[in-house]
């Protein structure tokens, strides 16, 4: 029998066939139920074939758990490559060259040698063995940034190259990568970060801590917030903010019989958070 494509009933035929096919498609697309032959051991547990909807930006590798792989996820730290060193903007004045380039004295234990060396990447670390902060990883890479060597009132004979001056509250300061200096006789001494200081860029290793709608940047015991003109200003920390490490040189104190630390008039209380020790800013 020849098929008459001009048969007036053909469209109806096609339509019925298509309807049946479409109606049956979900059947074809459905996942096999029950595991197809009992190879799942009868467990099933409600199927679970659908991919789990989890945020892409998670960091669970430290968990080492299937059971709680998606229970408690941590926002993945985002690596921001160090920006090229910028010349200080017009406001900060460069420090006198003879001071900056002068060789450190033998008794100067805060000499420039502890500064991270600028230059090409070494071993993939960009000259800085810093790593992305992962709060619950027992990773053991030292990540010394310049401000990790801060010691209150430690004296240096020469300021680091790239240091610039600024005035905060009418007092002159010098600043380099998270460390503030003031002149002391013929030397400079490291001082606490002054609230109100404005710097063009964040210190290396600054950690962003988002609290509410505000992003704070924490480094060397200082909390910075971004200004509209893309610079950063040092502010007093909000109570309750949690930081992963104490400022260098924080001293242990007792507050109401409990252990605490103090740095620059800011009090930190240690707590366990996510199984590791962190520090909460509080008012005694």
């Amino acid at each position: 029998m020849k098929l008459n494509i001009f048969n007036p009933g053909l469209p109806l035929t096609i339509a019925i066939g298509a309807v049946v096919l479409i109606a049956a498609l979900p059947l074809a697309a459905a996942p096999p139920s029950g595991g197809g032959g009992g190879s799942r051991g009868g467990g099933g547990g409600g199927g679970g074939f659908a991919p789990r909807s989890t945020p892409v930006t998670v960091d669970r590798v430290d968990h080492g758990s299937l059971r709680h792989a998606d229970t408690q996820v941590v926002a993945r730290p985002i690596a921001v490559q160090p920006r090229p060193v910028e010349q200080p903007r017009e406001q900060p004045r460069p420090v006198e060259d003879h001071r900056v380039t002068e060789a450190p004295r033998a008794d100067d234990h805060h000499e420039v040698a502890r500064r991270p060396e600028p230059g090409p990447a070494r071993f993939g670390f960009d000259g800085r063995p810093s790593m992305i902060v992962h709060r619950d990883v027992e990773a053991d890479w030292a990540r010394p940034n310049f401000w990790h060597g801060f010691a209150f009132h430690a004296r240096v004979h020469a300021l680091p190259v790239g240091c610039f001056s600024l005035v905060v509250g009418g007092f002159p300061y010098y600043y380099y990568d998270g460390v503030y200096y003031q002149q002391a006789d013929n030397d400079y001494q490291e001082v606490y970060p002054p609230v109100g200081a404005a710097v063009p860029e964040l210190p290396d290793g600054a950690i962003e801590i988002d609290m509410g709608d505000q992003a704070y940047f924490y480094a060397g015991g200082a909390f910075y917030i971004q200004q509209d003109d893309s610079g950063y200003v040092l502010v007093a920390p909000p109570m309750g903010i949690m930081v992963p490490e104490l400022p260098p040189g924080a001293t242990q104190v007792s507050v109401d019989g409990g252990l605490a630390y103090q740095f620059n008039g800011i009090f930190y209380r240690p707590v366990f958070a996510d199984g590791v020790t962190q520090f909460v800013v509080f008012t005694p």
Binding site: G9, I16, G17, V19, L21, L25, L27, A28, A30, G35, G36, S39, R40, G41, G45, G48, F49, P51, R52, T54, V58, V61, D62, G64, S65, L66, R67, H68, A69, A75, R76, I78, A79, G124, F125, R128, M131, I132, V133, H134, V137, E138, D140, W141, E201, P203, D204, G205, I207, E208, I209, M211, M242, L259, V271, F272, A273, D274, G275, T277
Partner: protein
């Protein structure tokens, strides 16, 4: 006169077309089902997994050591591995002790059926939380309430098989290999966002020898790797193993709950 059955009427043609469509759909269903046949656990893998799980679940107590390596991304973007060791001592149903050590960090976790304690040996801090119940309760509460997920907890719970097969889309037996000279069976499993592998010791003691988790939904698909050793099912574990006694000079600090710090996130900015 043609038999009625073969009478070529418009209606019957429509019926044939419908049947043809149904047949096509059925064929498609069969093909799709065949294609999805990978979404099941190989029975041999399932048996081995079940056997290992039963062995651990039925052990009244055991000790084990594991070396853990996990991928970490440096600030430069380079991926490296961080290592640590975990020593576990367990007595069912409600005793657990873990020591987690790396070069500089050193912390312990104790659970005695009533209290979960964490001790930071490096800084001499400890904290405690009341979690009455079983090991399962302690692990779930520690993870969900306090954000402390115990590595390798999948092998500590009362029914390791149950949580292992949850959400699985495939399971395969890859064959015999050795892990640190121990003959093992290599299994590979997959679920939505995770691939994981398990190496189970051959012979009468089907314990895990290696465990790898690959997080497929994270950048670079980082891996968590644990290599087990020093399995001990003979040495009895008395109560004092699980009782935490703060050493002299240790300071008690709070354990914060996850919900109390949800408003904060931290990341390296530069």
């Amino acid at each position: 006169m043609k038999p009625k059955l073969f009478r070529s009427t418009t209606v019957s043609r429509h019926l044939y077309a419908g049947l043809a469509g149904l047949l096509a759909a059925a064929s498609l269903a069969v093909v799709t089902a065949w294609a999805d046949d990978t979404n099941v656990i190989d029975p041999r893998a399932d048996v081995l997994l079940h056997r290992m799980s039963d062995y651990l679940a039925q052990a009244p107590y055991f000790s084990v050591k594991a070396e853990i390596w996990q991928d970490v991304q440096l600030g430069s973007g380079q991926r490296v591995q961080a290592g640590r060791t975990v020593e576990l001592q367990l007595r069912r149903p409600d005793r657990l002790h873990a020591e987690v050590r790396s070069t500089r960090r050193n912390r312990a976790m104790y659970y005695d059926g009533k209290t979960f304690s964490i001790f930071n040996r490096a800084e001499n801090f400890y904290g405690s939380a009341d979690i009455p119940g079983t090991i399962d309760d302690a692990l779930d509460t520690a993870s969900e309430k306090y954000g402390m997920t115990m590595p390798l907890e999948d092998f500590l719970v009362s029914d390791p098989y149950k949580s292992a097969v949850q959400g699985l889309t495939s399971g395969t037996l890859l064959g015999s290999v050795t892990v640190l000279d121990v003959p093992c069976q290599h299994l590979a499993f997959s679920r939505g966002n995770i691939d994981w592998q398990l190496w189970i010791e051959d012979g009468p003691r089907p314990v895990p020898r290696k465990f790898v988790i690959t997080y497929k939904d994270e950048d670079g698909s980082p891996q968590f790797t644990a290599i087990f050793s020093h399995w001990d099912f003979d040495t009895k574990l008395p109560d004092f193993v699980f009782d935490f006694q703060p050493p002299a000079g240790a300071s008690k600090i709070d354990i914060t709950e996850v919900k109390a710090r949800n408003q904060q996130t931290q990341k390296e900015a530069k």
